[in-house]
Amino acid sequence: MDFSTTMEIFVSNYTLIDNEIYELWVEGVSAIEAVCQLKGKALLQQGSNVEMLQSEIEDHYRTYSLLERLLHNPAKIKDHQLEFQIEPQIMSMLIQRYYKFDDAVYRDILGKKLSTRNRKDLDDLSERTGINILSCRRQFDNAKRVFKVVEEMPGLVVKNIIDNFALDKELAKSYATVVFLGSLRFDCTKRKLQYLSFQDLSHCAHAIMANWTCKEQGPEQDDTEFDREFLLDLKDLRVMLDKDREHKHLVCAKVKPQMLEKVFQDVENNFKTYTRAILGISCGLHRSREMRTLFIDMVEKCLEPWYAAHWSRADLSIFLAAYTHSALEMDALREAELRQSWERCMNVLSACLTCLHKDKKEKK
């Protein structure tokens, strides 16, 4: 007589969590692979064999898959779920790990519609990045879930995410990026933008959220909504186009001591082009199509000429700082509102441009 096991389960009152196995599970490693990966270490134990390890891993996997349903709604379960007896700090850890993501994956879905169609494309991504497809899907679903919950919700997106998903601040910020860029459909997929990492874009997104959205306290507060009034005000910056000479002087004066001669020459020679590009972007922001193409515009209109002129990032930040401050000294921006708009606009643009600018090496 022999037995072929059809079921072997182990359930405990306090839910057992094993960090290593959980990690593997989150990464989408199948139970069998997990056995292979952990075999070496676990089998140091006397009297154990692969079968036991497998049974243990399967127990954990089952537990996690039961847990997964709850993890989709973490804030609710964190404090008062009854189904699993897990200490709050461990639960919190589980949540963070579950919502952990790979930059590559989230970079890929940035600005994309989180539709089922796109979910299918994850296969390619998985192949490209070597990240397990299950993990890709989990991340995609996480993003989608967060997106769905937070998108329409008034208030600050990061706070909303923290409240609803019990995520760490950092993690919440990343999800905020996904939500923000996603809901406003920023175009991040162009080839020319491919060199940008998720973190780069996230940085930009937060700069935009911090400056261009409805952040004032009040019922209207929502940092996934642009401050339309402000964007319309930016049209008035057009006056700067005519004052480019004055502006150039002020800038050059400021920049000269800090820059290499060669770069300085470039500034002097091409200032008009540059200021046109920057102001062009700023003035068009009230049109949502132009807003969506903000990143590609910045790259094409601003960064590429600078690359061509071999500006370093340091040069760029010196220039942008000077550019921003000089304008404030001009009469054209005497009006307080306009000054404010300029500052808000340039804060973001400076931040984005410096962030997006990669030195050759970085750009690889």
Binding site: T5, T6, V11, G47, S55, T63, F84
Partner: protein, 1345 residues
């Protein structure tokens, strides 16, 4: 539409028609249940289109339903309504769960159910009554006030909403309160105030003032699953109907058990076990057993209170409703008895014990080893000496007992009445009996005339007797009794359509012909003739001479004019006490006018009556016999000779034979009586040990206060195989079945000269329509008057009684044996008397304030020479005086005072046999034929394993047998220990009978075996004390009187030879060698780790459930048992592996359950508790805090077990200290666990305590039965996920209920039923689980209080 609108409007009350209960209610104690539904959360989306839910709540109590408003479009609804009030009957409060159902309101379609919450209100019933109200009526005169045992005042919190198809779907916040009016009515149906504990010991912080005895209840009902309605209703509806039914049954059984406890004067039931037998089409049987006790909180139990303040309640219970003693009174014949006399009466067992002419001789050391003459037994002193008897493995008794109905004289023979007689006799010789060599069979002789008379009288004079007949007919049975002569009767019963052949499993189908031959006994004609062969009967006969009972006798005698009257009375009384079950459904009750005042009594009698013996049994028996189809008499004619009986060993005999049973109460009564004869002027009631008046002297506890147990007799067990009849069943038949078994167990215990059965439990397993019932326990002699700090006393039981018992039995035995024996027995008598004296002193010593570990526990309580089975008894290694057996098997926890050498460890054997796939009767026959061999294998294996481990006793032994279509699996699990007073077991030697080619491997195996032995001895620190043995030999010379016995016993004590004839034997030997437990683990199935040194139990880590299921692939070359063994070992190893991070840890309370759900499937469930071990701290500052807290615990009756572990060892471990068990691998142990300072969440443990914590309060006993079904097994990830998820959800529900009661832990957690039905091809699965335990509030040392 309009209707829907009202639904959504204000909560309306829908009153359903009043239940019948309302009408029949004699006294209703209305209670007010107030329910507040506050909010819900995390509800599922029920409206897909809107992704939301419109939830409302239906609250149902009994037949009244309230509703809340609909909370629209929210997954987290807030209702915040006023209280919903229900006014309900007191019985409903206990029987009916509060049902809270969450619904989703739909405008256009029917409203959908989201899920349900069941709330058992029983835990609330304790606190809501003032303690004064719950004083049991019987004890009102006493000054004892029922203590507040604690309990929850409100039941409130978040409860998971459970749906049988979807599992947990959100939670609902509910608060429940109860207002009760006090109930002073004695005739009430409810048993509020009786507190229930699963805990099989005295709950910590409480004192057991009295132990009243065994209480049981059984309800049989239809299973909704098998109603035709099931065809047209949804699985959900069916599942919920079942769940609701299970809750109701659990409430009802509890109420009725409580009622019995109340009648006994108890205020609590401990060791309560609730079981459901799912018998398929024949219904569901709900069984509850427990031990009724009077508990007081420790503070209340002031030393000042004396026992005398308390009345021996059970005895006085007669007048109470439902007490069957009333029924006795009612009988015209016995009406002369007054209650008080009743109380005086010792139950007299009118039964016969037949002892095989060739008594096997020396007293049984191990009760488990009934007899030698087994074919298997190799010649001299082989290990197999201990053979389980057929049918019941452990019965220590070779005796077959027949119960003669108590004598009642009427000189007319009534054929019908004979049926009753037949029943009484059907008892039959047990199978083992039959298997024994023919020569051993005693002649069976019975005198009839009287019997007939009695019968006749019955039928004529007694209103009852009439009723049985129609019933009988209805039942479809007719039994024809042929009377050849008054002296010799032939009993033939013709059976109805059911046509059970004698071989059928039905016990009742057995009959014999009784030939009255020479009446051997001189005493009185009836009794004597009947009892010529019986010892006990004699005792009965002697009874009248008992000085204490004169008053009794006279009236009865007068009435009857029969000399043996008293015995009748006694038996009746005993019976009455025992059988007082008031099952309302018994129709018979109503029919007899005489019993009307005490309606419940009649049924009680009924239920208990299967035992053939009692005086009024006869008519009852008719009734019973006929009433249940199952008990039909088989048509087979019975040959006159018993031997024939014996030769056709059929299943039916097995159970019956032992069921002796009819000696209700009688058996014990007998003993008692005997005692009293010796004991002097019997003082008064309270002096009396009422336990002997009980029909079932059983205690369901596993753990007893120190000093309670005087001696262990050994394990006793009985099994019977029954055929379930479809649609014709009545609860009485089940009662009968169990009654038979209990009787048998009791008789076994008695044969071991023990007065109680401890650690008693009942199990059943069902395969198709065959049901195996098992009852087991540990026969023991207890000190009813022992000291433990304060005076705790169970009903008094004089210590000398127990000792006196031996002589009494001896006398009986001697008389019944043939003349040749007589000299000897008389000698023994003397011997025993002296011995008993000695015993007495021992015991009294034991009563001194502190009970030091002592050896008397292990001494055999029975006389060696007359023991019903061969036993190796040796002088006690400690006191050098008493005799101890070489092996002791018990079903209880090791007592604190036991002297232990070394540590305990888990010992387990698995035996697996194949069986033909048969149906019905054939199946039953197949099974019962197989059982004896299975048990034999199990016991011999366990004894051998014990030897390999170097141990000599097993505690908490659980033997379970499971039957499947093609397999029978037996599994025995226990904790092996070395008891210091008992001899070290010999190392097994292998012998090949023939010189065959396996010579080489033999020596190899032998070597491995010896290595294993040596290894085990070292690991567990078991040092055989050889020198001591030698000493004892010399000393023993001085203790004169035992000399002859010694010679008898000492024959082959060292030998342990295992004969190896073929590969199969070799396999068996290989199984003896177990892989060792990994370092850092201590594995036992008890509550403590006996003998643990250097470490202590400090914290609870994890309760776990492991389920393993496999497909069985038949395969030729390996034996079933071996491969099963292999897999269980593997399971255990895998358990260790999973818990490897917790070392050093102990695995306690390991329970193994095997199920054979399908022809080719096997399932094993392991439930256990991992606890953290900490090094015993040196008295440093750090540990003082925890030390003090532990000190407090010492004051409790049951010390927390770390105390036990540490205290128990020092005296014994003097020698063993040399081997610090952990020394070897201290390096490996990185850390030791610290006592917890608090704990997150709810701790659930199968233990009776929470390690590292102190139980502040018991909040109530919870039982749950849940069903989960799924039609999308694949989608949820297969059966593993399905079951895993379900268990997880169950635990969550249990935790929520504990929290709602204000608790933070559950002790004595159990999981009884675990059934998984799978239909993989249909993608379906259904799982049923029963769990429960005691909700408690505990505090940790770190908590600030």
């Amino acid at each position: 539409m309009t209707v829907r609108e009202t639904r959504s409007g204000r909560p309306g009350v829908r009153c359903e028609p009043l239940a019948k209960t309302e009408l029949r209610k004699r006294s209703s104690m209305p209670g007010k249940v107030k329910v507040k539904i506050i909010a819900g959360r995390n509800l599922p989306v029920m409206d897909r289109s809107a992704d939301t839910t419109d939830a409302y709540v239906e609250i149902k109590m009994a037949n009244i339903t309230h509703k809340t408003d609909v909370c629209r479009k929210s997954l987290n609804p807030q209702w915040q309504e006023e209280w919903h009030r229900f006014e309900v009957d007191d019985t409903e409060l206990q029987d009916e769960p509060l049902q809270i159902r969450l619904m989703d309101y739909d405008v256009y379609s029917a409203n959908d159910a989201i899920g349900k919450v069941y709330i058992d209100l029983n835990p609330l019933l304790h606190n809501s009554i003032d303690s004064a109200d719950i004083i049991p009526p019987s004890s009102t005169s006493s000054k004892v006030r029922a203590p507040m045992l604690g309990g929850a005042a409100t039941y409130g919190g978040w409860f998971p909403v459970y749906d049988t198809m979807h599992g947990i779907r959100g939670e609902v916040q509910v608060i429940v309160k109860i207002e009760l009016f006090s109930d002073t009515n004695k005739f009430r149906d409810s048993s509020h105030g009786i507190k229930f504990f699963c805990t099989a010991g005295v709950p910590s912080g409480l004192h057991a003032l009295f132990i009243h005895g065994f209480v049981e209840e059984l309800i049989l009902t239809e299973d909704p699953e098998y109603e035709w309605l099931d065809k047209i209703r949804t699985p959900r509806a069916t599942n919920e109907a079942r769940q609701t039914l299970f809750f109701k049954l659990s409430g009802e059984v509890k109420r009725r058990v409580g009622l019995k406890a109340l009648e006994m004067g108890a205020n609590a039931v401990i060791g309560y076990r609730l079981r459901f037998d799912l018998e398929g089409e024949s219904g569901i049987v709900a069984r509850g057993i427990g031990t009724a006790v009077t508990l007081v909180s420790q503070l209340d139990a002031s030393p000042g209170t004396t026992l005398d303040d308390f009345e021996p309640v059970p005895v006085l219970l007669g007048p109470l409703k439902g007490c069957s003693s009333c029924s006795c009174l009612l009988r015209p014949s016995s009406s002369a008895l007054s209650m008080s006399t009743l109380s005086l009466i010792k139950p007299q067992p009118p039964h016969l014990l037949i002892i095989p002419p060739t008594p096997t001789g020396s007293a049984g050391v191990s009760p488990t080893s009934p007899m030698n003459p087994h074919p298997v037994a190799p010649g001299s002193g082989s290990p197999y000496r201990r053979q389980p008897s057929y049918g019941e493995a452990i019965s220590a008794i070779d005796l077959v007992s027949l119960h003669l109905p108590a004598p009642q004289n009427r000189p007319k023979a009534n054929p019908r009445s004979l049926k009753g007689l037949a029943r009484s006799l059907r008892i039959a010789l047990s199978k083992r009996f039959s298997k024994r060599s023919v020569t051993e069979l005693p002649k069976f002789e019975v005198a009839y005339p009287e019997r007939f008379d009695r019968r006749h009288r019955r039928s004529s004079s007694d209103p009852f007797s009439a009723s049985p007949v129609p019933r009988l007919l209805r039942g479809g049975l007719t039994s024809v009794l042929e009377e050849s002569s008054p002296q010799s009767v032939r009993l033939r019963s013709v059976q109805s359509e059911s046509c059970l052949s004698p071989q059928s499993s039905d016990t009742s189908s057995i009959e014999f012909i009784l030939l009255p031959s020479e009446s051997a006994s001189s005493v009185d004609s009836l009794a004597s003739s009947a009892s010529s062969a019986s010892e006990l009967a004699l005792a009965d006969a002697l009874r009248p001479t008992d000085p204490s009972l004169p008053s009794l006798h006279s009236p009865t005698a007068a009435a009857r004019g029969a000399p043996h009257r008293p015995s009748v009375v006694r038996s009746m009384s005993s019976n009455s006490v025992a059988t007082s079950t008031p099952p309302p459904r018994n129709s018979v009750t109503g029919s007899c006018p005489s019993r009307l005042p005490f309606p419940s009594a009649a049924p009680g009698a009924n239920t208990g009556s299967d035992s053939a013996d009692n005086s009024f049994m006869d008519d009852e028996q008719h009734r019973l016999g006929q009433s249940n189809g199952s008990n039909t008499l088989s048509p087979s004619r019975i040959p006159n000779n018993m031997q024939r009986r014996s030769s056709d060993s059929d299943l039916s005999i097995t159970p019956k034979g032992n069921s002796f049973g009819s000696t209700s109460g009688g058996g014990s009564g007998n003993n008692m009586r005997q005692f009293h004869r010796h004991s002097l002027p019997r003082p008064i009631l309270n002096q009396e040990s009422s336990i002997d008046l009980l029909e079932y002297p059983f205690l369901t506890l596993n753990k007893y206060p120190c000093g309670f147990i005087a001696r262990f007799g050994g394990m006793v067990c009985a099994r019977s195989v029954k055929l379930l009849e479809r649609n014709t069943e009545e609860p009485e038949s089940r009662d009968l079945w169990w009654h038979e078994l209990r009787m048998e167990v009791r008789s076994h215990a008695r044969a071991l000269a023990c007065n109680v059965v401890l650690g008693y439990r009942e199990e059943s397993t069902i395969n198709d329509d065959v049901c195996i019932l098992s009852a087991s326990g540990t026969a023991a002699v207890v000190n009813m008057q022992h000291r433990d700090g304060h005076r705790i006393s169970c009903r008094k039981f004089k210590s000398n009684k127990s000792s006196k018992k031996e002589p009494s039995e001896n006398s009986n035995v001697s008389e019944e044996n043939d003349e040749g024996k007589e000299d000897k027995s008389s000698k023994i008598l003397i011997e025993n008397v002296s011995k008993s004296r000695r015993l007495k002193t021992n015991i009294t010593d034991g009563h001194s304030n502190q009970i030091p570990p002592h050896c008397t526990l292990c001494h055999v309580p029975y006389s060696l020479v007359n023991s019903p089975m061969p036993v190796n008894a040796i002088r006690c290694a400690v006191c050098k005086k008493g005799k101890v057996p070489d092996v002791l098997l018990t079903t209880v926890e090791p007592p604190e005072e036991a002297m232990i050498t070394g540590r305990g460890c888990l010992v387990q054997v698995q035996v697996c046999r194949s069986k033909k796939d048969a149906k019905g009767e054939h199946n039953a026959k197949e099974i019962s034929d197989s059982l004896p061999f299975l048990e034999y294998d199990m016991y011999s294996a366990i004894i051998n394993k014990l030897r390999v481990k170097g141990m000599n006793s097993v505690f908490n032994l659980r033997v379970s047998v499971t039957v499947g279509d093609r397999l029978i699996v037996g599994i025995a699990t226990g904790t092996a220990l070395f008891l210091t007073p008992m001899p070290a077991p010999p190392i097994p030697k292998l012998i090949a009978s023939k010189t065959n080619n396996s010579r080489l491997s033999l020596t190899e195996v032998q070597k491995r075996l010896q290595d294993a032995c040596r290894n085990n001895r070292e690991i567990y620190g078991v040092v055989p004390n050889q020198e001591k043995d030698a000493n004892s030999g010399s000393e023993s010379e001085e203790s004169d009187e035992d000399l002859p016995a010694l010679e008898l016993a000492s024959g082959n004590k060292d030998a342990c030879i295992i004969e190896v004839d073929d590969g199969e034997d070799m396999n068996a030997v290989n199984l003896l060698i177990e892989s060792t437990v990994p370092k850092g683990f201590e594995v036992v199935n008890t509550e403590t780790i006996p003998g643990l040194a250097g470490y202590e139990v400090v914290s609870s880590l994890q309760m776990f459930t492991q389920v393993w299921r496999a497909r069985v692939n038949p395969c030729q070359n390996s034996s079933y048992s071996a491969s099963l063994n292999k897999h269980i070992r593997r399971l255990q190893q895998s358990l260790y592996f999973k818990l490897r991070k917790m070392v050093p840890c102990g695995l306690l309370r390991l329970r193994f359950k095997v199920e054979l759900p399908d022809a080719d499937e096997i399932q094993i469930t392991i439930l256990g508790m991992a606890i953290g071990l900490g090094k015993i701290a040196q008295p440093l500052k750090g540990s003082t805090k925890s030390k003090t807290s532990r000190k407090e615990e010492t004051d409790m009756i049951f010390k927390l077990d770390e105390e036990v572990a540490t205290i128990a060892t020092p005296p014994t471990s003097k020698e063993s200290k040399k081997q610090p068990f952990y020394l070897g691998y201290t390096n490996l142990l990185k850390n030791s666990h610290e006592p917890p300072t608090g704990r997150y969440g709810v701790d659930i443990t199968p233990l009776n305590f929470v390690p590292g914590a102190k139980i502040e309060e018991y909040l109530g006993n919870l039982n749950f039965f849940f069903i989960r079904e799924s039609n999308s097994i694949r989608e949820i990830g297969g059966y593993c996920n399905f079951v895993h998820g379900f268990i997880n959800e169950l635990l969550a529900i249990v935790r929520a209920h504990i929290t709602a009661l204000g608790g933070n832990a559950m002790v004595s957690y159990y999981m009884n039923e675990f059934t998984l039905l799978s239909a993989a091809h249909k993608n379906q699965g259904q799982c049923l689980i029963q769990v429960g335990g005691d909700a408690v509030r505990v505090s940790y040392s770190g908590d600030n209080f």
